[in-house]
Symmetry: C2
Subunit: 419 residues, 2 copies
């Protein structure tokens, strides 16, 4: 039984202010005057009362820690089902399913070298020693006593995408090893000052409390500039996958489950600085200690694995970021790179945070190639894959920040234009 | 078996730069030179290797949608165990456990009048009708076709705390019906323009698709100013508790599971605008359509139910917010309101978002009363409870934005100074 609503104005045409035009199916809503056809076979939809209005819903607080709708059960971390092992492995954020700049903690990407340790925060300790006046051991409570600060930053695997070759079906396959959160912790500078740095202190070697004892050397300048010992992520304590309970190390060399900071005069050349995380160049030398992630961007909608429903206006949206500071501009091309136009950036644009960009686009229903390129506040422009290959050769794996175009077929299917 | 570390410098004293001083237990870490006593009974702690470094941890992607550490299982929504029913009820955010300004989706507060409906997004429809040129019915896909925008805003129950009398043990008991997220959706203005407003359109009546069919009238000015139809929260789709899949209505009258927007010339005086959400004044009249939440703040650490560990420097931190825009200043008193000092505000300060404030404080180990007051960009100053009662009398329930002081006992125990 339908409820009575206002009669539809069947004669109302389009107005100058209407955003979405085109076929009825592509318009921004169905005209209510066409209700006879809309309602056919949809007896439980408006204007009728849907089933879920006819009885009380689930009780309040039924989930003391909430979860997404059961209809969103496909929106999960992206992890290959065919790995040989899942201890040194990664899971990717489903970028193409997300909006805005904050990554929910449940979908934050993971990369572990020795699995995820189960650490009792009451038992966890952080030791700070080496070239300091006063070596210290901190409990978690000690660290919570320091003045805190919060900042929104991205975190990214240097192997994102980790291939110099065309690869991947979806935005997540390609660049899902990046996520963004509001981090809270204590300034590392404050903690180092508590111990007192000796004049010859030039590096801080950070070691994690996982089975891999992941170890990285960080220049003292970075430690004193903006590094944080992080204990919270989007308001709540870090998830174990991001290093609970520890101090994670903010920045591009986040050492999780941090247990040791060794202040030294030289980098330690740890396993993670020799066998990994360097880039082999064509002349046989390797780029090393390349900490900063260069400017990068990706269109997340429409993107690989999705399908445009109908010709007409669609929003092109995606994310851009740079380890060197703020994103100054994102340009989008819808004609295979022949011309570029500036997208709108979501405000406020934050330093070293994901920056959401958006551009309305009228798709004519013909094949097209769309792509984005980021320009950061230093003026650096995200390169094409061929530009990157010309400089680095084909043996490098990390620090790939190429433009990744998407191909849209006449039927709306979106695929990786380089794969 | 201990690993070898650098010998501690037992003679190192305090330096001018040290932040934390006081007794050994209160200092920012234990001097490593006192290692003999630190290590006693803690054979699995640094400098020894903890158990969780001796074997691989949990596999990557073991949780396809992640959850907090098992050691955080007490950090959940705050809901009374003794309610008569849980259909029209609320759960509160554990403010005292959170940092920064973003509330994780799993801990977002809930308030439902008819339980949480389980809505299939493919079946959900939004009808826009009344004083418009062209009534429309939208699918979720239709709404996703519009240009999107994202903004960080708080959402708050007008009954937060919902008592004119002193009440509550913890910050969550008192003011836990407020949370903050990055919302993504479509500008309501754009959607109304798609339908075309008639000149006599002055109100929009919003109806939810829950068993309560919660209904509110919203002035057209607000709808055209900054209202959004929201479908995402902190990156992912809204949780059912916040109105999935629907358009939630951004602002202080968020109608969840939105199914109907009826454009009218007058407010509808719905149940929610007459029996609820008005404030009975001493002269027998009622404040009605009081949409804007006035400036408010609360210290979340130290706060009721917590205990200061030892005298020395502690950080006082909390949140402030205003429905009228940005927080301009937060002042903190540690002497029962005799004097006030400005706290540091977390940047960037965002319009109608939670604003984190922080102030280092040296607690001398004596009884103290601490409190905060917010001043927003309009110059409005958060009042004391007695100031509020003098104006409103004792019969009002909603829109209580009084200052709530905390009492700290000599043993460090923190309690509500007004309860």
């Amino acid at each position: 039984m339908s409820r009575t609503f206002d009669a539809a104005d069947k004669s109302a045409g389009t107005t100058r202010r209407r955003f979405l035009r085109g076929s009825a199916a592509a318009a921004g809503g169905t005209v209510l005057g066409a209700g006879a056809s809309v309602a056919a076979g949809t007896d439980n939809l408006p204007p009728n009362i849907p089933e879920w209005m006819k009885a009380p819903g689930e009780p309040t607080g039924g989930q003391l820690y909430g979860a997404p709708s059961s209809f969103e059960k496909g929106v999960v971390k992206n992890i290959s089902k065919t790995l040989k092992q899942y201890i040194s492995a990664s899971s990717r954020t489903p970028l193409q399913e997300l909006d805005g700049i904050i990554t929910p903690n449940g979908l934050f990407y993971e990369r572990h070298h020795g699995g995820v340790p189960t650490i009792d925060p009451a038992q966890h300790r952080l030791m700070l020693h080496g070239l300091v006046e006063r070596p210290l051991i901190f409990t978690m409570d000690d660290l919570r006593r320091f003045p805190s600060e919060s900042r929104v930053h991205f975190l990214e695997c240097s192997g994102n995408p980790g291939y110099s070759k065309p690869y991947g079906k979806t935005a997540s396959d390609l660049l899902g090893l990046v996520s963004c959160a509001e981090w809270t912790g204590v300034s590392l500078k404050l903690v180092l000052q508590e111990a007192g740095l000796k004049p010859e202190a030039k590096w801080v070697v950070a070691e994690g409390a996982d089975a891999a004892a992941l170890t990285r050397s960080i220049p003292i300048e970075k430690c004193l500039e903006d590094a944080m010992l992080v204990y919270s992520q989007n308001g709540e304590r870090l998830r174990p996958q991001q290093g609970y309970p520890l101090p994670g190390f903010e920045g591009n060399m986040s050492v999780k489950w941090l247990r040791r900071l060794h202040v030294t005069a030289e980098p330690v050349y740890s396993r993670e600085e020799t066998s990994k995380y360097t880039d082999l160049l064509p002349d046989g030398t390797a780029r090393e200690f390349s900490f900063y992630m260069e400017a990068k961007s990706i269109i997340t909608r429409p993107s690989g694995g999705q399908r445009l429903g109908a010709p007409g206006v669609h929003e092109i949206t995606g994310i851009a970021w740079s380890g060197h500071g703020k994103i100054a501009r994102v340009e989008v091309s819808v004609d295979e790179g022949k011309s570029w136009q500036s997208a709108q950036l979501q405000e406020p644009v934050l330093t070293r945070a994901l920056t959401r960009f958006r551009l309305p686009w009228r798709w004519e229903g013909k094949p097209a190639v769309i792509q984005s390129r980021a320009i950061d506040e230093t003026g650096y422009v995200q390169p094409t894959l061929s530009e990157l290959l010309a400089v680095r050769g084909e043996n490098y794996f990390y620090h790939n920040n190429a433009i990744w175009p998407w191909r849209i077929a006449a039927d709306g299917e979106v695929t990786n234009a380089l794969a």
